[in-house]
């Protein structure tokens, strides 16, 4: 009995202690508020900038030094610095937020409470919570990476045409395969046709490879997870040892496939960031993201419009930038690349940037390289055909083998298919 009473008193003492701490908080927060107030009352444009707050919800830690969250965090801070915003006081981040509507909703409440004007959510599973919160807080702009939902006022989504960068990386891999005379190319991927993102990446890469070396085959191994370092390495080794692959490309988080390629004395294309430092003797180039390109555009737009105009000002609910915007790119080619690779890639890049041609169309590219290194691109009308594998879902064939997706000379597959529903591999892909 005595013990119970003591516990209660102890707890009450803690409450009182906390309450007194809370009192201290009041004064200090009030102080900072009044500073903000005086700054805004001067009415200059810099004062407006100091009022603007960016919020972000991350799937991993904001202190990460590599990986997906790191890429976004760097993108946001780079963009804010370019716009003259202070990342210490004007950026509010809730990190390690699980893909759980309740957790995301609470994170949004925290950010809105802090007075954020625009909130970025970087993980796919935030989609429904952000959609809901965008309705609840019409005065705040919501922007969601990798998703597909949006509204007409304050909620958009953003992603990049990474398949264009993968096509360029495919060219580098194809040139290498011609140089070494090894037509087998490996590709370690998180998933296959389950996700349009991975599927379109494999297809873009393969089309790039085949534009250089039509005899090449891309052997694909699926991890079944977005990150799995042990198997990323093991699968790359298997592709090299059992399938004789001479170039290893990847769609997974770590540099393990590149390290495995270096160990085996073959070559590789990384992903997400320049992986040359991880595998200096193997790495050719990596498709990379420049997230700051989007973040700068979005923050700048948000600073200069009312929340309900955001989607209109951004030109629609889905931002889908590519090579032309500089949103996606490839890392600088290394010395491991075959001769003339740079020239071919530069020529194709120009073709894509100008909007004259795109990857998933009914026009195939091939190249003539003169002795002085000048490149001529040949365009040939040819259909976009699926691989010799029936694509099956729930025991039903959804896309039969050798289906013609785009007729010879036809226009590119629609963006909605590339981001959302692409569920077939193109000719030249072999899942093993």
């Amino acid at each position: 009995m005595k013990r119970k009473l003591l516990t209660f008193v102890m707890a009450m003492a803690m409450v009182l202690g906390l309450a007194s701490c809370g009192g201290g908080g009041t004064t200090s927060t009030d102080g900072s508020q009044s500073t903000t107030g005086s700054a805004s009352s001067t009415g200059t444009s810099t004062a407006q900038n100091t009022d603007f707050k960016v919020g972000a919800i991350y799937i991993n830690k904001k202190s990460d030094t590599a990986g997906y969250t790191y890429a976004h965090h760097t993108g946001i801070t780079t963009a804010m610095e370019a716009l003259g915003l202070d990342t210490n006081t004007q950026l509010v981040i809730v990190d390690e937020v699980a893909e759980d509507d309740n957790a995301v909703g609470a994170a949004v409440d925290t950010l809105v409470g802090e007075g954020c004007n625009i909130i970025f959510g970087i993980s796919f599973g935030y989609i429904n919570a952000m959609d809901q919160k965008a309705q609840e807080y019409p005065d705040v702009i919501f922007s969601h990476a990798t998703g597909y939902k949006s509204n007409e006022t304050n909620f958009n989504n953003y992603f990049g045409r990474i398949y264009q960068a993968r096509y360029l990386a495919g060219i580098a891999a194809g040139m290498k395969s011609l140089e070494t005379g090894n037509n087998n190319i490996g590709y370690v991927t998180a998933y296959g046709t389950e996700y349009a993102e991975t599927c379109s990446g494999i297809n873009g890469f393969t089309l790039g490879v085949q534009s250089v070396n039509p005899d090449a085959t891309v052997y694909v191994k699926e991890l079944g997870a977005w990150a799995d370092e042990v198997n990323e390495s093991a699968f790359a080794k298997e592709l090299i040892d059992s399938f004789g692959c001479g170039v290893i490309a990847q769609h997974c988080d770590s540099a393990q496939p590149q390290i495995a390629a270096a160990d085996a004395g073959v070559f590789g294309c990384g992903y997400n960031s320049d992986m040359t430092a991880d595998a200096p003797t193997a790495h050719l180039t990596a498709p990379i993201w420049n997230w700051n390109v989007y973040y700068q555009k979005a923050i700048e737009t948000a600073m200069n419009c009312t929340p309900d105009q955001f989607v209109t000002e951004m030109g629609g609910g889905a931002y889908y930038g590519g090579l032309a915007e500089g949103f996606v790119d490839i890392s600088p080619l290394t010395e491991n690349c075959a001769p003339n690779t740079q020239a071919v890639i530069d020529a194709v890049r120009e073709l894509i940037v100008s909007g004259e041609w795109d990857v998933f169309s009914g026009v195939k590219l091939s190249y003539d390289i003169a002795e002085d290194g000048t490149v001529t691109i040949n365009k040939t009308d040819a259909p976009l055909v699926t691989s010799e594998r029936d694509e099956v879902k729930d025991d039903v064939v959804v896309v039969p083998a050798n289906t013609e997706i785009v007729p010879a000379g036809g226009a590119s597959v629609e963006d909605g298919v590339i981001t959302g529903t692409m569920n077939y591999f193109v000719d030249g892909v072999k899942v093993v």
């Binding site: 803690m14 609470a106 409440d109």
Partner: protein, 371 residues
Amino acid sequence: MSIHVVKRDSLSFGKKVLIYLGAVATALILGGLLLLAMGVDPVAYYSRMFTMGMIGNKIAYKAAENYLKIFVPLVVTSVALSLAFKMRFWNIGGEGQFILGAVAAATVAFQLGPILPQPVTLLLMCLAGMLCAGLYGVMVAALKVKFGTSETLLTLMLNYVALYFITFLGETQAAWNFYLDEESVRPIFANFSKIVSFPSIPIGKFGLNVCVIFAVLIGILIYVYLKYTKQGYEIAVVGDSPGTAHYAGMKVNRIILRTVFLSACLIGLAAAFKVGTVGILSTTVTDDVGWTGIIVAWLAQLNTIAIFVISALIGVLQYGSTAAAATFAQVDSSFADMLQGAILFLVLAADFFIRFRVVFAKKGGVTNGNG
């Protein structure tokens, strides 16, 4: 020289309070030094943490609502665990029981929500959550009384079975899997808050979720149950000495089964409150209440009133940490977790020194039978 740990007979009231406060202060000073090293003003950080960022917040009422969403499942789970702990049945399977309760409640919401009136669905969600979690818990109690298995090991292992079960549900797209959002290409859990959810009582802008009231009622009922009923007395006797209980003619096995079932049922109810409030399943649905609840129950020395106070404080710590970390660029969620851990660890250490004292004795000096 040897070291003995000896149970304390008593410690003056003032000393106990001082030791606890000292522990919290030590943790805060340690954390403060780390904050200083990172270039963060500790006073600003702590004031944000202990006020949960509600001062100067445009929508402080939202913060209060979100705080209560953390508090309710934690307090109900802690109360539930204290029932089993009182009997010295070490149920560390709160996580698993919570998950199964959540899945059961969600199943009812998806299947019956569209057909039945909302209050009926909510009631059935609670009952389903209680039944599933209760059976999951009593299964271990049955194995214990029948075969003498260790409930600590079994409840611990069953946590992972439940966790992998809900992960399986969350990642498997199939025609039968109604838990998932049909519109989404990637597998994500579907939201049913539009079909059914626990109502809130509006107090100005603030909405007081009815589950908060239920949680308080449960607290009162369990307090009375433990203190004034025959069954409550039986639990205490079995906890102190099963032999005595047996000698006194109590059906010890039945008491164990009944109490563990009740304990797990309440955890299932906490889960039903949670999913009925947030309207969605998640692999992180438990918010670790199965673990945190153990700390709460222990710190509260199984006293129901103290459980409410300590749950409230730990909720402040959890919610406040997130709110504080958000506004300081140098502080990430890991630091917030570490500080939380340091505070809890030191308070538990203080608790140890309140219950026991360490005696240094020369060899052959004091003997207490252990050499």
